[in-house]
């Protein structure tokens, strides 16, 4: 029934799996990373944010209901709590599955006065999608975002773990061309990079030993 009430909404809530359908997909490496991170905080609840980053990587860039349920299970928290946290932060892809590459264009103050809206319009037109939509081939998602704090390089955009700026229409063309030839998903790469910076050299040794 709840699906009927959400037709066409961009704010779809992920549906939690039924308890009997719960499957655990974290790789042994992810489990070891989570275990290593437990030493960083006084309680399990504080692991929610890093654990969601791990889940975003393990679930191919998308925090589906199953992904949230797995985080809840592993941290002994409720599904509702995990969903509440995940939907609060804009970098967790909860509401919809994003494409292989997510292009985030800053249109905040300095970027806006330096031509970010023209760049974003060009990108929309070039890919034939609107803000927060994904191209039909599942390759690109574009998103208008708030200040990326690189105003000296305005207008700036972010793809995965990289900033690019100042950008113009030619730079957008070159970027799209480059990303089409990039096999690895930059969305997954970003999540992985963020997980890795949490881990100290000693943590990484523990993880590689299993």
């Amino acid at each position: 029934m709840s699906e009927l009430l959400q037709i066409g909404s961009r704010h779809n809530r992920p549906a939690p799996p039924k308890p009997e359908d719960l499957t655990l997909k974290f790789s042994p490496k992810a489990v070891a990373e989570l275990e290593a991170l437990k030493g960083h905080y006084p309680d399990l609840k504080s692991l929610i944010l890093p654990a969601l980053w791990i889940a975003q990587r393990e679930y191919d860039g998308h925090l589906s209901g199953a992904a949230l349920a797995e985080v809840a299970f592993r941290l002994k928290r409720s599904y509702a709590e995990i969903e509440g946290v995940a939907t609060y932060y804009s970098m967790y892809n909860v509401e919809h599955k994003v494409g292989k590459h997510k292009i985030e264009v800053c249109t905040c103050l300095t970027c806006a006065v330096c031509g970010a809206y023209q760049v974003f319009d060009y990108l929309k037109q070039k890919l034939g999608v609107e803000d927060r939509e994904t191209t039909a081939d599942g390759m690109f998602t574009i998103e208008e975002v708030e200040c990326l704090d690189a105003c000296d390089r305005a207008p700036v955009l972010q793809v995965g773990d990289e900033y690019l700026g100042p950008v113009d229409e030619r730079a957008v063309d070159a970027l799209i061309e480059k990303l089409r030839n990039t096999q690895e998903s930059t969305v997954v790469k970003l999540a992985d990079e963020i997980v890795q910076v949490h881990l100290s050299a000693t943590d990484k040794q523990k993880v590689s030993k299993g």
Binding site: P42, V113, C114, Y117, F120, D121, D149, D152, V197, S200
Partner: protein
């Protein structure tokens, strides 16, 4: 006045981000000096230096450090607020990427002064480059005995962790940041005097110090050269000491971070950034999007200092200085500012959650040519009803830029309402819906 580089002196040297390069440029002399003093003496040096929080509020740093219990009853935490999100500000990004050891050393000094057991650097999720640079620095510091157990043989134990955010401006607010660190939605908590200060009960209900990146990065210089020396910088101002990094952006020829001594005129900062690009100076937002904008006349007479900026009815804030040229439509610019705050309001307090939306709707109808005659008064009323009525400063920060622009450029708003289009003939923000 010219630039006065203290924190950024060696920033352009890639070796400075390695431990050996840092040690070669008198790195860790501040910590060595601190370890030779007792804890209170370190705090006294910070007090003598007159250092104030660089994140925006300008709260005296020593009061926080001094507020931690002297007889430890359990763990004490240090937090570094590296959730830089204020539009126009990008100083912490450069500090973390190019001078990561300043932050690590500064936090270790604070750990010694407050007997802290663990430190957390809360970095916004987008700043992967900053996090990678810090990760490298922290790993190197651990391997060489500058972090961990028995630091430099002094008996000091201190662990330092990185914690990444996930995209939320609100998490730059200290109580929201602590909520986020503890694995919650990044929403603010009640503050003093309604709740204890973080130094009494902060993260995990334990005494906690929370300072900005730039604030911690000042500590090594203060301990190395003495608080009195640091206080001699900026002595021309009423109560602003030391240097401050300003992030200059907008319509200038050379945008970037410029470190100056307090007391430097704002117009000198503009000159350092290569002057205006594409037209005459029209307005300046001197301290990040939250502070009221000032016009060209005030920009020419403003002196950079916490109290001095009040003379032109603005603030130093976080140091994000946006200069706008004559082709900028102020009404559209303020609409974009309002959109930012409406997007980033966490939704906890009604005045901010609803008020930011109302401001946005009123401004939206003005810039689409449907403004009503009494809209200016309505905007002023809504701003007054948000200001001071929410848990954290985001509500105030949403109201100030609108109220500030109405103070200086009310004519421009009235023109837009009366004529249905901007007073500026070719606005530089073309492309807006």
């Amino acid at each position: 006045m010219a630039e006065k580089k203290l924190l950024l002196e060696h920033a352009s040297d890639p070796k400075y981000a390695t431990l050996d390069g840092y040690l070669a440029k008198s790195g860790y002399n501040g910590l060595r000096a601190a370890l030779g003093m007792d804890r209170q003496a370190v705090i006294d040096q910070i007090k003598a230096s007159g250092l104030r929080g660089r994140g925006g509020a300008g709260f005296p740093t020593w009061i926080k450090w001094n507020g931690i219990e002297k007889q430890k009853t359990g763990p004490v935490y240090l937090i570094c607020n590296a959730d830089e999100g204020e539009p126009g500000t990008f100083k912490d990004k450069q500090l973390m990427e190019e001078t990561p050891f300043l932050l690590v050393e500064g936090m270790t000094i604070a750990a010694h002064a407050t007997q802290a057991d663990a430190g957390y650097i809360y970095i916004r999720g987008e700043f992967v480059d900053s996090a990678r640079a810090l990760r490298k620095a922290i790993d190197e510091a651990y391997a060489r005995g500058y972090l961990g157990k028995n630091i430099l043989g002094s008996g000091l134990n201190f662990d330092l962790y990185l914690h990444m955010g996930a995209g939320s401006y609100e998490c730059g607010e200290e109580s929201a940041l602590m909520s986020s660190l503890m694995g919650e939605r990044g929403m603010p908590r009640l503050k003093f005097p309604h709740a204890p200060l973080p130094t009494v009960s902060g993260a995990w209900s334990r005494p906690t110090i929370i300072n900005n990146v730039e604030t911690y990065a000042c500590a090594p210089f203060i301990l190395q050269n003495g608080g009195a020396w640091y206080a001699s910088l900026g002595a021309s101002t009423k109560n602003s000491r030391g240097t401050k990094i300003f992030s200059v952006s907008g319509h200038v020829n050379k945008p970037g971070n410029y470190e100056i001594e307090f007391g430097t005129p704002l117009r000198d900062l503009l000159a350092m950034a290569g002057g205006m690009k594409g037209g005459q100076l029209k307005a300046c937002i001197p301290g990040g999007s939250s502070v009221p904008m000032i016009d060209a006349d005030d920009t020419n007479k403003a002196i950079l200092g916490y109290e001095e900026m009040a003379d032109v009815k603005s603030m130093v804030g976080s140091g994000g200085c946006i200069f706008l040229n004559e082709h900028t439509c102020i009404v559209t610019f303020i609409w974009r500012t309002a959109l930012f705050y409406a997007n980033e309001s966490c939704g906890k307090c009604t005045p901010c959650r609803e008020g930011t939306q109302w401001i946005l709707q009123i401004l939206e109808r003005i810039i689409t040519g449907a403004g009503k005659a009494d809209d200016i008064q309505l905007l002023k009323d809504v701003c007054a009803q948000i200001d001071g009525r929410s848990f954290c400063g985001l509500g105030d920060a949403a109201a100030w830029p609108v109220a500030g622009a109405l103070r200086v450029f009310e004519d421009e708003f009235r023109y837009f309402i009366d004529h249905g289009h901007s007073i500026v003939s070719k606005p530089s923000m073309a492309g807006i819906r």
